[in-house]
């Protein structure tokens, strides 16, 4: 059956599957938002005192709190109103900075997105290339890459950040040691080391996964057949081994993106990059809870969104995958 001649039954099955996954995601997101909202009721004392955390309870401050949280209403109503506001992009006002959370996030989001994007490119390029070389070459090259990736996956991102900073900016002066500079060129320059620190663990992980997926694909009969037909080895590896192993990589999409986003908290703090990761650290320290809530919700939604996307795209690009095969979680 050629890809174009898919039966209408499969298309209908796909739509049903997509709708079911979408509903599941909505349910999980609802649960997650409830946990994020309810967390402030876990704090000792009443929520208003917790939210103000020792700041002066001026009428203006109380009014701002009430506008966002409606603390006088029953709990369920508070939650539903809060959820409605969040869905409309109204994240409330920061208690520490007294500005809308959305504005704070908007100013910092591009930096974080650029950082995550740069790290993602590094992960894909280095991870896939190292995995490829490791699987195809074998021998000493393979062993060296394996030892290197063993340590890469054991290195937390903040440790990588500190070590890279010490080596490349303090000792060698090749890169700036922190901040984000001014102008787009400067920004890229300042974000290179942070992106590398962020990517290191996942480069190791992806290289490992690619390697084992390619070794598995190499054992398949179609590879032997292709070789015996005289297909050049480069082409065999590229078309029949590497392409077959990409499905495994795809199932890691959610894991890769969520790890990158969560670890920006550590890396941005280490390099004083003014993105939303650093903001999460700062607002946790200053107990600026509306900001913590907004960032947590965004990270969880992002993670689930990428997982959903992977689940939906995977059966489309790889017809062997049965509908309902779940992507890697966590």
């Amino acid at each position: 059956m050629t890809p174009g001649a898919r039966s209408p039954g499969r298309a209908a099955a796909f739509v049903r599957f997509a709708l079911r996954r979408l509903a599941e995601m909505a349910a999980t997101l609802l649960g997650a938002s409830f946990a994020i909202f309810g967390a402030m009721y876990l704090a000792p004392g009443n929520p208003a005192d917790f939210l103000l955390s020792g700041r002066a309870a001026t009428p203006a401050a109380l009014k701002a709190l009430d506008a966002h949280y409606h603390l006088n209403e029953p709990f369920v109503e508070q939650y539903l109103r809060w959820l409605g506001q969040m869905l409309h992009g109204d994240f409330g006002r920061s208690i520490e900075y007294r500005t809308p959370v959305a504005a704070l996030l908007g100013a910092r989001l591009p930096t974080t997105l650029l950082l995550v994007g740069m790290a993602l490119v590094m992960v894909l390029v280095f991870g896939l290339v190292l995995g490829w070389i490791s699987a195809v070459r074998g021998g000493a090259v393979d062993s060296t890459i394996l030892v290197a990736t063993t340590f890469a996956v054991g290195t937390p991102s903040f440790v990588a950040a500190i070590l890279l900073q010490g080596l490349f900016s303090v000792e060698l002066h090749w890169f700036p040691s922190g901040g984000s500079g001014s102008g787009p060129g400067q920004l890229l320059w300042h974000l290179t080391l942070p992106a590398l620190a962020l990517a290191l663990y996942l480069i190791g992980l992806l290289a490992r996964v690619t390697r084992s997926a390619m070794l598995e694909a190499l054992d398949h009969e179609h590879v032997t057949v292709a070789r015996s037909r005289g297909v050049p080895e480069r082409q065999v590896i590229r078309r029949h081994v590497f392409r077959n192993s990409l499905g495994t990589v795809l199932t890691m999409g959610g894991l890769i993106v969520s790890t990158l986003v969560v670890c920006t908290v550590l890396v941005e703090s280490a390099f004083s990059v003014d993105g939303i990761g650093q903001l999460l650290d700062l607002s946790t320290t200053t107990k600026d809870f509306p900001v913590v809530q907004a960032i947590s919700l965004i990270i969880v939604a992002l993670f689930m969104g990428v997982n959903l996307l992977v689940d939906l795209v995977h059966p489309l690009v790889d017809p062997r995958v049965a509908l309902g095969t779940r992507s890697v979680a966590g």
Partner: protein
């Protein structure tokens, strides 16, 4: 940073009990070709545990004794590994810091293992609505990366070790419970379970006395691997200043303190705790993977 690379395709409980083991696909080749690495890692784990246990007797100095006049001095007879930016002895801080740095992950592993086995065993044994309820809630917990959940809890309860340890325990729970569930499902089909049922033993009795001891090795291997992840997450929290209180010697805290030293060109007091973290994580990973592999091989010989 927890990786679960088991797709549901691979987790068919009847065919391969250990295929469901949540593990990173790392270290596979190293393990089989380099026996000495496993031994070295076992020795390292034993050594670091002993250091943590006997820390107060091993540390040559008070880890919190500040000597600003001697700040950032290099290694010397009195301070074999030098001192940090506040003049505190690095060796003593590393030794005493091993305690908090290992105790935190131990707590996380205990919470997630005990609760995860209970939840997973109940779901696998009883099935039905209980199973789907528990699967739903573990899906929810999986949506929260461990570090994020810990940060959320710290922002509510403030700094300190117990709150993030429990938060991470909850975040790691689904990995253990999903593994336990698939193992229990496979174990239920075995003849010995039916034999006990025929003899009139109750479900919980068979579970606790026979099924759980049988699946324990696989679960323990998983928990050993989780230990490394928990160490990474807790050290990260301390690095952010959200973990242990500021004066407690802790490896993550030491990396944070060492940042100023590194920027002044004295990397030693930051590089050493970094090395301690990386070596400990790698050692626990290698040992856990090795155990998992040994159990898997034993199963395939059966």
């Amino acid at each position: 940073m927890t990786a679960d690379l088991t797709t549901d395709r691979a987790a068919d409980p009847a065919t391969d009990r250990t295929a469901a083991l949540v593990r990173r696909p790392v270290l596979t080749r190293i393990r089989t070709t380099h026996g000495p690495l496993y031994l070295a890692c076992v020795v390292f784990v034993a050594l670091i545990t002993a250091v943590a246990l006997f820390a107060p007797w091993l540390a040559p100095h008070d880890p919190n004794a500040v000597d600003l006049g001697n700040a950032l001095a290099g290694p010397s007879g009195i301070h074999p590994l030098g001192v940090d930016a506040s003049g505190r002895d690095t060796l003593s801080r590393l030794i005493v810091g091993a305690r908090t740095s290992l105790l935190g992950p131990l707590g996380v592993v205990l919470v997630s293992t005990v609760a995860g086995v209970a939840v997973g065993a109940a779901a696998g044994w009883y099935g039905g609505w209980l199973d789907s309820l528990l699967s739903r809630s573990s899906e929810l917990a999986l949506a929260f990366p461990g570090l994020l959940l810990a940060i959320l809890i710290v922002s509510v309860y403030g700094q300190g070790l117990p709150a993030p340890v429990i938060a991470l325990g909850v975040a790691y729970l689904p990995y253990v419970s999903r593994l336990t569930r698939s193992l229990v499902l496979a174990e239920r089909e075995r003849p010995y379970v039916e034999a006990y049922q025929v003899q009139g033993h109750s479900g919980p009795q068979i579970l606790v006395r026979h099924v759980i001891p049988n699946i324990a090795p696989v679960v323990l291997a998983q928990s050993t691997i989780n230990f490394g992840y928990a160490l990474i997450d807790l050290a990260g929290l301390s690095f952010l200043g959200l973990g242990v209180p500021a004066l407690t010697p802790d490896w993550g805290q030491m990396v944070f303190d060492g940042e100023t030293a590194i920027q002044q060109g004295y990397p030693l007091s930051a590089v050493l705790p970094c090395a301690a973290i990386v070596l400990t994580v790698v050692a626990f990973n290698v040992v856990g993977e090795h155990w998992a592999d040994r159990v898997a091989r034993r199963e395939s010989h059966e």
